[in-house]
């Protein structure tokens, strides 16, 4: 099963994204806590893109595709903004985030801890971030 959503690059679109994910994950073989976590991870990536790659420009669009197969869920997030390769970012130390009073960096920790696989590619100005969650048998 495939589900698609186009998100306008404004933070007010995040609640719409969560509602879409809740609906798309309805039939997935994950418990409620896992569904909540993957929703959070996808939102973290999209929020990062909206704020940092697109400067909250509502004219810009992020495309999300959710692919629900027998064994795994794939979230494919595509945009044409400044490339943000999450794999290039080291997971910051939590104590460091606290001391530096940084409000960022936590999202990256969450995405890396929640998702089983993360892929990123940038080709001809199109960036694709793929988040994969395997179903536990």
């Amino acid at each position: 099963m495939k589900y698609r959503l186009n998100i306008s690059c404004q933070t007010s679109a995040l609640s719409e994204l969560r509602a879409f994910l809740q609906q798309s994950l309805g039939g997935a073989t994950l418990d409620e806590i896992e569904k909540h976590q993957v929703t959070l991870a996808v939102e973290e990536v999209c929020a990062n893109l909206i704020i940092h790659s697109h400067g909250c420009n509502p004219q810009d669009i992020i495309h999300l595709e959710v692919i629900d197969s027998d064994q795994k869920l794939i979230f494919e997030i595509t945009d044409q903004g400044e490339a943000f390769n999450i794999l290039d970012y080291e997971v910051p130390d939590l104590k460091k985030v606290m001391v530096e009073k940084r409000k960022g960096g936590l999202g990256i920790i969450l995405v890396k801890k929640i998702m089983d696989e993360i892929e990123f590619e940038s080709k001809n100005g199109v960036n694709t971030c793929r988040l994969i969650k395997w179903f536990r048998s």
Binding site: T11, S12, L14, S15, R18, E32, I33, H36, Q37, L40, E43, E44, A47, I50, I51, L94, V97, M98, V99, K101, R102, K103, G104, G105, L106, G107, I109, L110, K113, I114
Partner: protein
């Protein structure tokens, strides 16, 4: 959608969160905590009973106060998180940095 409610109980300021905290509204949470600090609070309890969702934007607000609160001897506790929201705190390790209690009574007791 996020709604906040400020009350006082047992000489503590209670900040109850209703709904969802994300990058679109975390500033509201930040401002509410700033106001409580400005009013001289020494004991702040965040009631998460009706908090359905919190992203890193909201978690970062709590994180940003931890050191200052330590210096200013302000106590911040969180209580009654739903299991799924608590799990997010746990994944990040925030449960090791902020005391989290099952309910308000337990938060008052310590």
């Amino acid at each position: 959608m996020l709604r906040l409610e400020k009350t006082k109980e047992n000489r503590s300021d209670i900040l109850s969160l209703f709904g969802e905290v994300d990058a679109s509204n975390s500033v509201i949470l930040d401002e509410a905590i700033q106001e409580l600090v400005a009013s001289g609070t020494k004991s702040l309890i965040i009631d998460g009973k009706n908090l359905e969702y919190i992203s890193s934007a909201g978690l970062g607000v709590f994180m940003s106060y931890l050191e200052d609160f330590q210096d200013q001897e302000i106590s911040m506790k969180i209580c009654e998180l739903t299991p799924r929201v608590f799990e997010v705190f746990r994944i990040l390790g925030l449960d090791q940095l902020i005391p989290i209690y099952p309910d308000r009574a337990a938060a008052f007791a310590e």
